[in-house]
Structures are given as structure tokens and as C-alpha cells.
């Protein structure tokens, strides 16, 4: 549409994936007092200095940018946990470790806007980059096992990984499906069957006139 004459209208842009990730809840520690916020997307607060509160990530980042809070990085973002996850990813060929669906976007937003709130920020960032790389490599090798099928479970894959594989896997599975079900192939074959029909039954009405 507008701005998207792209045929892949089903794809989510990077901005849209980030938008969805911004709704994930995260803990903040405010440094000011503020009444509850009665938003369309839900009620948050009241906010009191030094009292932790759960808010959507977009709100956490907005408050952080305005110097009103510290963000508590989620538990899965600790060096210990990420080290364990990375080992797990390396050990198991097929399976993916449990991470939030939006782990890539959440961590990027926090690195961009709340770096001083993340202990061992550089370590954490490099661990997440490593985990990402291992997982993407695994996604690629898992794809080799795909074959003609209508449904495949992809446990623990993240939003970003889904977005990466979607165009390719979608097309590949569709090709497998067409290959297995030649009678169901639309468009391209419709044209040729119409031609055969014309050739066998022969052009009718308009030839008679």
C-alpha cells in the first residue's frame, strides 16, 4: 500500500517488530513521584521513588530518556543465564533454548537507551550477539531437514528469526506443496489448462462468427 508496493504485504518491517516488542513488560525504578497512568493499553503506576514498577518497554524507555527512572534488565539478561543459554545452543543441534520471543529487540532497545543500567553491558552484548549467530546458523541447518509438509513446529524461535526465515521457508514449503499436489496448483497452470482446453475442445463461439 501506501509506501508498500512490495508484494510481501505479509511481512513485518523491522520497525513493526520493534513496535510489538515495546509492549513487553519490564521493571523500572522511578526517581520521582507520579500518579497512575490510565492508558488505552492499560493502567500503570502509581510511581514512587525507589519503588519498582512494571511498565511496557516503550514507557520505560520514554521515562529513561527524560531522566525519570532506571530500568532493571530482565533476569534472562544476566551474564550467568546468557552463558548457560549460549552453551545450550551450542550443545544441542536441533533445539533452541528458551528466550523471550523479542529477545533481540528488547536487548537492542536497552543497549541503546539504558546502557548504564545493565551490569557487564559489554559482556552481555557480546553474549547476545553470539547467541544470535549460533541460533541463526542453526535455523539455516534445520531448514535442510524440511520437506513436503503443511505444518512445522518451530519451538522457541524468536520474532527476528521468524522474520528472517519467513520469506524463504514460506516459498520453499509452498514449492514442496505444489510439487506434491500438482493438481492444486493455481495461476500458472490455470493458464496452460485453459490452453489445452482451447486446443482440445477448440475455440468455440468466437470462431463461429
Amino acid at each position: 500500500m501506501a509506501g508498500q508496493s512490495d508484494p510481501h504485504i505479509s511481512l513485518f518491517s523491522a520497525e513493526e517488530v520493534e513496535f510489538m516488542a515495546e509492549d513487553e513488560l519490564i521493571e523500572i525504578v522511578p526517581n520521582m513521584r507520579m500518579d497512575p497512568l490510565n492508558f488505552i493499553c492499560g493502567d500503570f503506576g502509581p510511581f514512587l521513588p525507589q519503588i519498582a514498577s512494571q511498565v511496557p518497554l516503550w514507557l520505560a524507555v520514554a521515562l529513561k530518556k527524560r531522566g525519570k527512572c532506571a530500568i532493571r534488565p530482565p533476569q534472562w539478561m544476566s551474564v550467568e543465564n546468557l552463558t548457560r543459554v549460549l552453551e545450550g545452543e551450542r550443545e544441542s543441534q536441533g533445539a533452541f533454548q528458551v528466550l523471550p520471543f523479542h529477545y533481540v529487540e528488547i536487548s537492542r532497545l536497552l543497549f541503546d537507551h539504558a546502557r548504564e543500567d545493565i551490569p557487564d553491558m559489554y559482556m552481555v552484548r557480546s553474549l547476545i550477539e553470539d547467541i544470535r549467530d549460533v541460533r541463526i546458523h542453526k535455523v539455516e541447518t534445520s531448514l535442510e531437514k524440511f520437506s513436503g509438509t503443511s505444518a512445522v513446529k518451530i519451538p522457541n524461535l524468536s520474532a527476528m528469526e521468524v522474520n528472517i526465515i519467513r520469506p524463504f521457508v514460506g516459498r520453499a514449503l509452498q514449492a514442496f506443496y505444489k510439487h506434491d499436489n500438482p493438481e492444486k496448483i493455481p495461476d500458472v497452470d490455470r493458464a496452460s489448462s485453459a490452453q489445452t482446453r482451447a486446443a482440445n475442445n477448440e475455440p468455440r463461439r468466437q470462431l463461429r462468427r
Partner: protein
């Protein structure tokens, strides 16, 4: 050779930069349409010949039958190419209707690429979109990308002067000047390439 001109027409569209239009190729389109009518004439004269020879057109399988079939299929192929050419252009025109049709006249450099019918289609579709929005009392051609902070920093790329009054301020939008604007105010100018957003 059958279908060559039609193929050129489609190729011309496919060869243009994505989302951009070349000048409407009226001449080539007319020549393809002419070719269609030639096919039609050839097809009819073959049928007539078969009828004169007393052959049953529905069942006879002689050279003339297959000749007629080739003309029929060539005509259809030409039609599909013509339609592909104008239909794909129509998609870009609709896209433009979304981006600029609701606000302003088309810039001349785009307008000159259009045929008269295309210009009319652009106006018609813009109007259909406007009707939809007014029935709904909601503009759907803003907020094209997910929101960030309501205020964004922009740089003016082309001198807009001080005549523009936005929802909460007016300013002198001289070329290269920078402003904090409401995103909804700035979006239309960004879409038209008159401003750019500055990412912090």
C-alpha cells in the same frame, strides 16, 4: 513475430525502477492493440475459409484450425501483456494516490509520465480514498510507520518558507533548518521528500 511488441511493453515496465513509472508508452500500446485486431481478422478469415470449404468448424482438425488457434492464443497473450502493463502501472498510481493524492496536486515530473486516463484514474482513486476516510471520520494515510516519541527532529530539504502552519506551531521552514515537529505534522513532508527525519 507474434507477441514480440507486447513482450517489449511488459519488459519496459519490468525494467523501470521499482515503484517508478516511465512515460506511458502510448505508441507501443496502440501497436499491440493493432496487432490484436490483425489476429482477429486473420482468425476470422480462416474460419470463413473453413466454412466455405464446408468443414465443421467445431470438429475439423486441419491446418486452418490450428492456424486460427494460434491467432486466438496470440491475441490472448497480447491482451494479458497489455493488461499487465496498465494494471501494474495502476498499482503504482494507487500508491501515489495514498502518498500524495489526498493532499496535493501531482508534481509535474510524475504527471508527465501519465496518460490522460491515468491522470483521471489517479484523481478518481484519490477521491475514493477520501470518501472512505470521511465516512469513517479517520485519516488512514498518516501514521504509516510505528510511532516513536510524538516529537521528532527533522531537517528541511527544500525551502518551504514560513507559509506553513502546523497543528501546534508555525515557523520559517528554510532549507537546511532543523525543527522539533509533531510526527503527524511532519510525515506528509517527509513522504514528499521535503524534509528528513534526524535519528538521534
Amino acid at each position: 513475430m507474434h507477441g514480440r511488441k507486447a513482450y517489449q511493453l511488459v519488459k519496459e515496465f519490468a525494467g523501470s525502477e521499482k515503484g517508478h513509472l516511465k512515460i506511458f508508452n502510448d505508441e507501443l500500446l496502440e501497436r499491440v492493440a493493432e496487432e490484436c485486431n490483425e489476429h482477429r481478422n486473420a482468425l476470422q478469415s480462416l474460419i470463413r475459409k473453413m466454412q466455405e470449404e464446408g468443414l465443421e468448424v467445431q470438429t475439423a482438425r486441419n491446418a486452418d484450425h490450428y492456424g486460427a488457434l494460434v491467432h486466438h492464443l496470440s491475441l490472448i497473450r497480447n491482451k494479458r501483456c497489455l493488461m499487465a502493463y496498465v494494471y501494474n502501472r495502476a498499482e503504482i498510481i494507487r500508491d501515489l494516490a495514498w502518498k500524495v493524492g489526498l493532499l496535493h496536486e501531482l508534481p509535474c515530473e510524475i504527471k508527465e509520465k501519465f496518460s490522460d486516463s491515468e491522470e483521471q484514474y489517479f484523481k478518481d482513486h484519490s477521491k475514493s480514498l477520501k470518501m472512505y476516510m470521511s465516512q469513517l471520520s479517520l485519516d488512514v494515510n498518516v501514521d504509516m510507520v510505528p510511532p516513536k516519541d510524538p516529537y521528532i527532529k527533522v531537517r528541511v530539504l527544500e525551502d518551504l518558507g514560513s507559509g506553513i502552519i502546523l497543528s501546534d506551531k508555525s515557523a520559517n521552514f528554510a532549507s537546511h533548518s532543523m525543527h522539533f515537529l509533531k510526527r503527524t505534522d511532519a510525515e506528509q513532508y517527509i513522504a514528499r521528500g521535503l524534509m528528513e527525519e534526524l535519528i538521534s
